[in-house]
Amino acid sequence: MSENFPTIFSITEDEIDLNDLLAKITLTSTGAAAIFAGMVRGETKRGDAHQTEYLEYEAYIPMAEAKMKQVADEIRARWESIEGIAIVQRIGKLYPKTPTVLIACTAAHRDTGVFEAARYGIDRLKEIVPIWKKEVGPNGEEWVEGEYIPKAGE
């Protein structure tokens, strides 16, 4: 069965279309979707409070797509209820309020892990998928660096 479940992963410079992506991972047996979307913050208050004019995203595209596939496989291994999965990262120069990343998981019912799966997906994307962003603001530019060091086999 699960071989018929749709898995979408892509790195794109185009707008992220939530309606379209949700439709693509909705099957006749689907009743619930949990979607995480990340947007460019123009104003950050936590930590070093600062303003952002735009983010410039860069990806190691073929590896990023392979790692997105891996994140989807990990989700399916942990939550067998999951039907469709979409993982999309937009790259390029992106301004505040723009959606930059989407992780969506669908299932028959909402109480079978769909929220947890989406949360897991965005956490893992930020750990292992080779994408970086440079933040450009009124005080110059700075690369944002993650903290996670992948382990062998990741």
Binding site: G38, E58, P62, M63, E127, E145, G146
Partner: protein
């Protein structure tokens, strides 16, 4: 000697001043050996070698790994997508 291709991303790309570099390395060179070689030959990269992530053929690789012929390797900082 083995031919390999190095790809640089984010801060590593900026410090290397290039997106890609083709190299010839000894057949038994490890990831650690490559880091030492880059630190010695490219002073701009020396500091980065301490925290760099390295991949071989699109999988994360670690110090002891021996680099295979024709490897596509990438060097980059911890990821920050999303």
């Amino acid at each position: 000697m083995n031919k390999i291709r190095l790809l640089f991303f984010a801060t590593l790309r900026e410090r290397a001043g290039t997106k890609a570099l083709d190299l010839e390395i000894p057949a038994d060179m490890t990831v650690r050996g490559l880091k030492e070689k880059l630190a010695a030959e490219y002073p701009n990269l020396r500091e980065s070698m301490k925290s760099v992530l390295i991949t071989i053929n699109r999988e994360y690789a670690f110090d002891e790994a021996v680099i295979p012929p024709n490897a596509e390797m990438a060097l980059f900082p911890p990821v920050s997508g999303g």
